[in-house]
């Protein structure tokens, strides 16, 4: 089956983001395809490349990025949620006259249309919040 995930939880508070990642790995282990992971609202912090985790904690941004690369899964950050949280790719940084890109390059910034599109093509849409 084709899955897409909607992640609303911040990786910095609560378990939602980490739960989504481990769920995603299991879905792939079971032979399904993940079409897209769409990060919305607080969830967009999953792409914050400037986030620094204590050395004895896992680096959630890197874990998502590794997952995206390894399984070639699209990791999309909602543009309006991302901008409000200071998350920009290099082209957004230029557009908005900010000094630097702040998202991990494996993530992409795009519009809510990508969530709508994911819902259209996926057999399962699983939401992670809280």
């Amino acid at each position: 089956m084709i899955y897409s995930l909607l992640v609303l939880s911040s990786p910095c508070s609560g378990q939602g983001s980490g739960t989504a990642l481990r769920f995603a790995e299991s879905v792939i282990n079971r032979g399904h395809q993940i079409h897209r992971v769409f990060f919305l609202d607080e969830g967009t912090l999953a792409g914050a490349v400037s986030m620094v985790s204590p050395q004895d904690e896992s680096d959630s941004v890197q874990l998502w990025a590794d997952f995206g690369t390894q399984h070639t899964v699209e990791l999309i950050l909602c543009v309006s949620s991302a901008l409000r949280r200071g998350l920009l790719d290099s082209s957004e940084a230029t557009r908005y006259e900010k000094t630097a890109a702040t998202i991990h390059p494996v993530f992409e910034i795009s519009g809510l249309g990508q969530l709508v599109d994911a819902a259209l093509v996926s057999d399962r849409m699983i939401t992670f919040g809280g």
Binding site: S9, G16, T19, F23, R30, H32, R124, M125, F128, G130
Partner: protein, 97 residues
Amino acid sequence: MVLHTLNAAPGSTAFSDCLRLLKQSDILLLLGDGTYAALKGTDGCSELKNSGAEIHLLEPDARAAGIVDRLDMQFKLVDFDTFAALSERCPTQQAWY
């Protein structure tokens, strides 16, 4: 058949809203703070059981909470692969948090 995922403690509005829409034919997966609803002998636990739904809880979350030895035996501890398998069985999922 709906897969409900609940990660809010009993007493929250998420818990009570979930309970209202949890039908016998549905599956409930407790995760995060939702796992506390499986504590043996609590009101939350009996309310969930009364729904007649199939109820599971995510093992790592229940272990983190320190409640594994205090759970109602009727509920099953599951891993992430089982979570994925539950999502295969249910065409729609509703997240309560």
